[in-house]
């Protein structure tokens, strides 16, 4: 004969196990719903101070060219932050509805590191790369546009390396090579063939 006390204990344990199971499923669904939402845009700290000129090399798919566009904006003093803000502004233009070179939703740049004044490591987010259209020309325009925009803001720059979420990636979307350092002068030369 099982004592009443033991029966109560077993019943309580079963209820506790079921309760924890339901809670676990609830937490899992909650985590999944957070993960499947739109990728958060990188936060850009408000910058105060006098407005400075920022040149964006905007790519156009229609005429296969890079169009320099100058805007005024307060810029941070730190070169890495300046680079990040400039690229963030460029990418934001590509996310607009009427963009001539559209990028996928959530595309952004995490950081720009400058190990030395001549070198920049651009850490893109996965949304930019994963949603990028595949093709030599279309990928070339994105990469060249970012390199030239960065060079305009950081004149001492001679080479740029791209990472995606902190890791090296072979190509942007199957074509443009991101595996090594990109020579800024060579990009500038290649842009002469663009309109």
């Amino acid at each position: 004969m099982i004592s009443r006390k033991l029966q109560f204990m077993v019943a309580a344990l079963v209820i506790a196990i079921l309760g924890m199971g339901f809670y676990l499923v609830h937490l899992k669904r909650k985590a999944e719903s957070i993960g499947s939402g739109p990728a958060p845009q990188a936060l850009v700290a408000p910058v105060s101070g006098p407005a400075e000129q920022m040149t964006l090399y905007l790519a156009s798919d229609d005429d296969y060219g890079l169009r320099p566009t100058t805007i005024s904006s307060p810029l941070p003093g730190d070169p890495g932050e300046r680079g990040r803000l400039t690229l963030h502004t460029l990418i934001t233009r590509y996310l607009q509805k009427n963009s001539e070179h559209p990028l996928g939703a959530g595309a952004d740049v995490h950081d720009v590191f400058l190990p030395d004044p001549a070198s920049a490591v651009v850490n893109l987010n996965a949304a930019l790369v994963d949603s990028h259209r595949s093709g030599i020309e279309v990928e070339q325009l994105t990469v060249f546009s970012m390199v030239r925009t960065l060079k305009a803001q950081l004149p001492a720059l001679t080479r740029v390396r791209f990472l995606v979420d902190g890791k090296s990636r072979e190509t942007l979307a199957g074509h443009a090579d991101l595996s090594g350092w990109m020579d800024v002068a060579m990009v500038t030369d290649a842009c002469r063939d663009l309109k």
């Binding site: 020309e137 279309v138 074509h175 443009a176 090579d177 990109m182 990009v187």
Partner: protein, 463 residues
């Protein structure tokens, strides 16, 4: 004492037998035929089961990374993950469990799987079809294997063998027998391995797959001769003591008689690289139209066009299989071709775009014989690449195709050690369907072929 002698004699005899068997035994290997290369993998026999090393098997086919964690071997092949455990029959590949016919072996940090399961594993981790023929130990990856047809024709009696791809077998003509040994070709049975003809010239034929390749034997009742035609795609066995042109079908003419035949056997002038393949689709234009398929169709069309014009061509891939950048560059560099053309397709923009490598030309003090890093190996060949791009652009212009040339950070251009150009073909209008239209593909191919023919003397003279 006599008893002791008997034991010594028996042991010595046994040792001698073992030694003899050891020397006589041929090394056992699996012959692997893949679109990128053919190679052999040594067999390790354990408990009567043939095993092959995982790394030996996969390395020539793509990027392999493996690490041993305790009794487990974790392996990544072209991004696909697989996990095995020493002594266990279960494995996981791409998150799905599977069973091995015998246990997995981990020997000195190297993983071994039963040879019988190689095809199934390759299909699982690479999305490529694979077929293993157990008895001759031949493994076909990426659907490369092909079959032949044999037809006996009369007046004069001759046996015509036709192949879907050029072949180059070792030929042995003996009294009453013609033996063709296909060592490098992934030739398989057409389903009828023995045929009795009862012809005054030809008695019978047999076909067999062996560990050396595939062997076709024709038993003849008269002295026979062998001639090749149609660019190595046909072999004619006929009566006579010297190769005489066969009457009738021009495809049977000996190889020197047609430009196409010459093209298939001479050193290739151009290597065509259909970009992407296998799990790497390139751009996806629609649910049924992917860049990799357009690239391959363009490459095959261009190959046909060039061979018709007498230009020897090789392709990096002839089926839907994945090649790494480095494998493509190595194919180009070892092909002894003078020109490398990578073929891409896109729906962005219109017409044809031509790209050369975005790397510096040789610096002062450097020469083409200087030691250069792999990623700059194209540097000495950039002038030839620019000549090629200019000629291609001129012909596209002549054909009223919008064309642009540029340099681009595009692999494997920078590691190719001959003139190298990437061609990206976009539709003239806005519909992606134009890319798969035979008429548009032929228009582009004609322009490219005309330019390539005009480049031959310039590039070969520069080598």
């Amino acid at each position: 004492m006599p008893k002791d002698h008997a034991i010594i004699v028996r042991v010595a005899a046994l040792l001698l037998l073992l030694l003899t068997a050891g020397f006589a035994a041929e090394p056992r290997r699996v012959e692997v035929y893949a679109p990128q290369s053919s190679y052999q993998v040594d067999i390790l026999v354990r408990e009567g089961v043939d095993y092959v090393g995982l790394t030996d098997l996969l390395e020539p086919l793509g990027r392999v990374e493996s690490r041993v964690e305790g009794k487990k071997l974790k392996l990544t092949f072209n991004g696909a993950e697989a996990e095995f455990e020493d002594g266990k029959r279960q494995f996981r590949a791409r998150g799905v469990s599977g069973d091995l016919p015998s246990k997995f072996l981990l020997v000195d940090g190297r993983g071994y799987i039963p040879a019988a399961v190689t095809a199934r594993l390759l299909t699982r981790v690479s999305d490529q079809p694979a077929e293993f023929h157990a008895n001759p130990r031949r493994l076909f990856v990426g659907g490369v294997q092909f079959r032949y047809t044999a037809e006996l024709r009369h007046s004069p009696s001759r046996l015509v063998l036709a192949f879907p791809a050029p072949v180059n077998p070792s030929t042995l003509i003996e009294r009453g027998r013609v033996r063709l040994l296909f060592r490098r070709e992934p030739l398989v049975s057409n389903g009828t391995d023995y045929v009795s003809y009862g012809d005054p010239f030809l008695a019978s034929t047999t076909f067999a797959e062996t560990s050396d390749g595939a062997e076709f034997v024709a038993s003849t009742l008269q002295q026979a001769t062998v001639s090749m035609g149609d660019g190595g795609r046909t072999i004619t066995i006929l009566a006579g003591s010297a190769a005489a042109p066969a009457a009738g079908n021009p495809a049977e003419q000996p190889q020197a008689s047609s430009p196409a035949a010459h093209a298939a056997h001479a050193r290739p002038f151009v290597i065509l690289d259909a970009a992407h393949g296998g799990s790497e689709t390139g751009a996806i234009f629609s649910p049924t139209l992917q860049e990799k398929a357009i690239n391959l169709a363009l490459a095959k069309r261009l190959q046909k066009e060039l061979e018709t014009r007498g230009i020897p061509v090789v392709l990096t891939r002839i089926a839907d299989n994945l090649l790494t950048w480095d494998q493509r560059a190595v194919s180009a560099n070892t092909s002894h071709a003078s020109l490398y053309i990578a073929l891409h397709a896109s729906t962005s923009g219109h017409g044809v775009r031509l790209y050369t490598a975005m790397i510096p030309t040789l610096q002062p003090g450097q020469s083409s014989r200087s030691f250069l890093p792999w990623e700059l190996a194209q540097s000495p060949f950039l002038p030839q690449s620019n000549i090629a791009a200019t000629a291609l652009a001129a012909e596209c212009n002549s054909a009223s195709l919008p064309v642009r040339t540029s340099s681009a950070p595009l692999r494997p251009l920078n590691s190719v050690t001959v003139a190298a150009v990437a061609v990206e073909v976009a539709p003239l209008g806005s519909s992606a369907d134009e890319l798969s239209a035979a008429e548009y593909q032929q228009k582009v191919v004609n322009a490219l072929a005309t330019a390539i023919v005009s480049l031959r003397s310039k590039l070969e003279a520069g080598q």
